[in-house]
């Protein structure tokens, strides 16, 4: 399989790399090591730059005004965009724009007018409320939030956990059980305005990712209209699941960017730091760690680009996307861990970005489906069965 980028892809990669190194990295010297955002002035200036570059709104489909990138090019960009301190969870501080919530591309025209188009213009923000205190790895069965019909309205009660951005959102995609089916066929997606009576952002949830919090939500007899149903009643899980599959490739690619940057730092340190009369780079123990890093990075990159290319060819890529997510998140964690070991004491400090990546990469092995669920997905496909 040929993973050499085309001339156009190479040009895009070099443009993004230059942007990260010349525009993003210098700003981080003055920011707190755990900073999650830029000043409004810098944010606006850089958004203007990415718009000039024609890259704003990377994930917006072409028919809605996006640049129409294929999955491989998007993955190559994600690898570059994460190569800075905040890059894993906030690549380039969001200056390439968001895509709204992808599920809304399937919404009715009225729903698009009310939610999707304002989100694409940056006038409204949405959040994705799926996970509950009862579990996140198997959301179809874990959902306890219930919605029942009362005349023309739906009444929703329950709670959600680890929801990002709910406190700043204008609307939420809320998944609730609407039938007695205990699995995926009893879940409906609702678009809920966050100022609806009964919608509560209860608390901030602090995690290892100490620059960005999640929230806990509660719904207290929240009433929404029939028009707020997204897609079909009792078919909402397919909407959620589609997102989970498609997200895995850029999610995995972002992990690799951080690993590449950590390896670059480890190589530079090993070639400049002396101990016991010779450079670290001359010691076999360090050489092996550097080599193991390189193997992990190339393996992960291969898996991500294979999944991306299958997606671009219109082939099934469910197994490959699961493998890419599993390999990239685990391999990148090992790479950063070794890079910290090579750096010694300074590797543990907030003077370098390694400690932040170490904490954040740990979450990547759980977020967007834990490693064990990725293995389950692959096993189902390889063994050809659907196991309960």
């Amino acid at each position: 399989m040929d993973f050499r980028p085309s001339d156009e892809q190479q040009l895009i990669v070099e443009t993004v790399r230059r942007y990260v190194r010349e525009e993003i990295e210098p700003l981080e010297h003055d920011l707190d090591p755990d900073a999650g955002d830029l000043t409004p002035h810098d944010q606006a200036r850089l958004v203007a730059m990415t718009k000039d570059m024609g890259f704003y709104g990377l994930d917006i489909p072409e028919e809605f005004g996006g640049p129409g990138l294929d999955v491989t090019t998007r993955a190559l960009m994600a690898i570059e965009m994460s190569q800075h301190r905040a890059g894993l969870y906030n690549p380039c501080y969001g200056t390439f724009g968001g895509a709204g919530l992808a599920q809304l591309y399937e919404a009715t025209e009225e729903q698009k007018e009310r939610y999707l188009y304002p989100a694409l213009k940056g006038e409204k923000r949405g959040c994705f409320a799926l996970t509950e205190p009862s579990g996140g790895s198997d959301p179809a069965r874990a959902i306890r939030t219930r919605a029942h019909q009362d005349g023309d309205e739906w009444v929703i009660s329950g709670s959600k956990l680890y929801i990002s951005g709910a406190d700043k959102a204008d609307f939420a995609l809320v998944f609730a059980r609407t039938s007695d089916d205990p699995g995926r066929n009893g879940v409906t997606a609702f678009i809920v305005d966050t100022d609806t009576p009964g919608f509560h952002v209860e608390r901030v949830v602090h995690t290892l990712r100490s620059t960005h919090y999640a929230t806990e939500l509660s719904f207290d007899e929240m009433r929404v209209s029939q028009e707020q149903v997204l897609g079909e009643v009792n078919r909402g899980f397919a909407i959620a699941n589609d997102r989970l599959s498609r997200q895995r490739i850029p999610y995995a690619a972002g992990c690799i960017g951080v690993a590449i940057k950590a390896q670059e730092m480890a190589v530079e340190w090993a070639k400049s730091r002396e101990a016991f009369g010779s450079m670290l780079a001359e010691k076999q123990a360090v050489q092996w760690m550097i080599v193991d890093n390189e193997i992990d990075i190339r393996h992960a990159r291969w898996c991500v680009l294979e999944a991306a290319q299958r997606a671009d060819r219109g082939e099934r890529f469910r197994t490959e996307a699961a493998m890419a997510k599993l390999v990239a998140s685990e391999a990148s964690g090992r790479v950063v861990d070794r890079a910290m070991q090579i750096h010694g004491g300074i590797g543990m400090t907030k003077d370098l970005p390694l400690e932040r990546w170490y904490r954040e990469l740990r979450i990547r092995r759980v977020g967007e489906g834990p490693s064990e669920v990725q293995r389950l997905i692959m096993a189902r496909e390889i063994l050809g069965g659907s196991f309960k």
């Binding site: 090591p33 755990d34 209860e202 608390r203 806990e216």
Partner: protein
């Protein structure tokens, strides 16, 4: 309805002597002057001596004030949480946090 909690430690006089005895750790703090919270801030990774140096500086800026603090590694998200909590309770941010509105959402 909001389940978030503020800093539970009691208020102390904000003086150079009290600040000098604080731990040099990362954390968050709240400065209260004339019964009003004037700032909610954090001692982050660039602070040379964590809460100790951050509150030594604060003592010069707000003489006669009181303060409370909390040590935490999650100083950014805890700071944002305290700002949201203050806004939910008082309908506005502390005076010295007026420029931080874009960093937070709302607890309801």
């Amino acid at each position: 309805m909001v389940a978030a909690k503020g800093i539970t430690r009691g208020l102390q006089p904000l003086t150079a002597e009290v600040a000098a005895a604080l731990p040099g750790q990362l954390g968050v703090y709240e400065v209260v002057a004339e019964g009003q919270t004037v700032v909610i801030a954090h001692a982050g990774g660039h602070e040379p001596f964590g809460l100790r140096s951050a509150l030594t500086d604060a003592a010069e800026r707000w003489p006669g004030a009181t303060f409370r603090y909390e040590t935490t590694h999650a100083y950014v998200t805890r700071w944002q949480e305290l700002l949201m909590l203050h806004e939910a309770e008082h309908g506005r941010l502390p005076v010295a946090n007026a420029d931080d509105a874009h960093r937070i959402g709302g607890l309801t």
